[in-house]
């Protein structure tokens, strides 16, 4: 065996790679399909809570057969990082050869996480929204929010985009930058009700410290798609039961991981197997139908899973190799059997 090398791809390298919204969505869609077809290995994510929910590491691991790559992402979720002028989510993804376990890439996954989450949001909308959605209501203005809005607008070219978030300065900045990026107005709303009520698609990307209802059940109109994925319950707890279809990304992980939007309802025994319509991967793979009528209310909960990280990380790695971007490190010069 010759030396083992690892390509390190920094945050700045990721920016240079400039992965397109469409190619990211394409890669993630293949990952969802692989998940639906059970061509993955993915135990539930793990957690290292220093203080929940404001200081926490999430550890996501998996293997995706179609790309033949194993990977582990370690991502911090540190709510007060803005005080240090840092993103709350700093992340590293390491990729491994499944034949030997040898690492071959270390990829910044801060940007990746936002992008892969946005892609799952957008693909959720692609498969679960009613036809021709015109109005998007979005809660949250950090990290993943950029990609949620940009990717869905690429798919649907919305007539109206409304956003809100807890801190006025961050929602103003988000709306202004997003408006420039999309070349269309993005409306800032002072309350979640004004932002999401009767929207065709409601995305709740909030990051609460404790439970609060940001989206009332009655604000979700017939035909609407709502997605909520914060670690703390932020929508009406009635929603998983009152909607026509409750869809998740990975039901096993939803049941295993102790954190997440509806984790409390699962732990209390209220939210059970029979309430879950299916997984987005099954719908992408054509195993189960997605939306069947224009009047259905659908709730999609994506906790986020390793499959998406591995798909996007593998894409970044391949592009970095092609373009000669990143730092090639010698991990092990003369490995030998020990």
């Amino acid at each position: 065996m010759s030396s083992i090398e690892i390509r390190f791809i920094s945050k700045d390298d990721m920016d240079t790679l400039d992965i397109g919204l469409q190619e990211a969505m394409d890669a993630i869609e293949l990952g969802l399909k692989a998940h639906g077809e059970k061509k993955v290995v993915m135990p539930s994510k793990g957690h290292l809570p220093l203080a929940f929910p404001e200081k926490l590491f999430n550890i996501l691991k998996g293997y995706v057969e179609p790309v033949n790559v194993a990977g582990v992402k370690i991502i911090g979720d540190f709510h007060n990082n803005y005080e240090h002028n840092l993103p709350s989510e700093l992340a590293l993804l390491t990729l491994y050869r499944p034949e030997t376990g040898a690492p071959f890439a270390i990829v910044d996954a801060t940007l990746n996480t936002w992008m892969r989450t946005g892609a799952v949001t957008a693909l959720g909308a692609k498969y679960l929204a009613a036809e021709h959605p015109r109005v998007l209501g979005h809660i949250g203005a950090r990290g993943t929010s950029w990609y949620n809005v940009a990717m869905m607008d690429l798919l649907f070219d919305f007539e109206e985009i409304r956003v809100t978030s807890r801190r006025p300065e961050s929602r103003e900045r988000f709306a202004s930058e997003m408006s420039d990026k999309l070349g269309k107005p993005v409306q800032v709303k002072a309350t979640t009700q004004k932002a999401v009520r009767d929207a065709d698609i409601i995305i709740d990307a909030s990051r609460l410290l404790e439970h609060q209802v940001l989206v009332e059940d009655a604000w979700v109109k017939p035909g609407a798609l709502i997605q909520a994925y914060g670690a703390v319950l932020s929508v009406a707890p009635s929603l998983p039961f009152s909607v026509d279809k409750f869809v998740v990304d990975d039901w096993n992980q939803c049941k295993q991981s102790p954190y997440g939007q509806f984790a409390g309802l699962i732990q209390s025994g209220e939210l059970r197997d029979e309430h879950c319509y299916g997984e987005i991967g099954e719908i992408v793979a054509g195993i189960k139908p997605g939306r069947e009528t224009q009047q259905e209310r659908i709730l999609f909960w994506h906790k986020g899973f390793a499959i998406s990280d591995i798909m996007l990380g593998t894409l970044a790695y391949e592009k970095a190799c092609e373009q000669g971007i990143g730092t090639v490190l010698t991990y092990y010069k003369n490995p030998r059997d020990m």
Copy 2:
């Protein structure tokens, strides 16, 4: 916030650092003490099984208060890597600041794992062996075995060291190299019985593919310490019940993690809380006594935990900074709140 930098410490850098056996044991001992005093956060390790037991990743995570470092180790366990002339265990440890979750070190943990495992074996013997042990019987001749034998011999200066392993060429090589290193004979035995029967300290570092009894209960004499830590049961299943004290590294992890020497006995409900005397950290911290008579038979099962990886990784990082060893990578040039 200025840029975020990560120091990458390769396998070859680790060799250059040349961490001493005694300083490694000292660092690990502090980690065991912190664990005993509950100055750690350590959920159970996680696993990514591609094919059990021969193709598996173990994922260990934790935080150690006395050094104020969080860390995650990802370690492959690929039994057939010798066919690629690779060690079966290739590992990466990443270290993080607990205030922000920012990564600051990526350390090869292949060598670290062997060394920290050897240190826990040796410290287990320090606290649990009878006085003046003269005879060591050792099963296994790869990776951790080197440090098991070298560190214990540093503590006890054995009169007799017997080793065996499955493959003749690997036990012969091990004995010959270890003999050179220690400057004393190391005896090669063809059977496990010849290697371990009536030894003062028995170490079973075997890596079986399926259950097999390599150490019979009757071969463990009164006063002996036996340690077994392979992923598959390799000693008489009666041992945890028949010994005077059954000690582990972390009982919660022993119960949570589905793999390991006695995991099957726990899952079947046979091996329960009341059978576990205590954790090595409690003994190191002086919370519980270790060995109390020279006639006790003691069994110590260390599954291996993140605390040790973080302690040794932090030591390696500090030495690397002092000596200017490793590659300093810019992870994030101009981080900002997003």
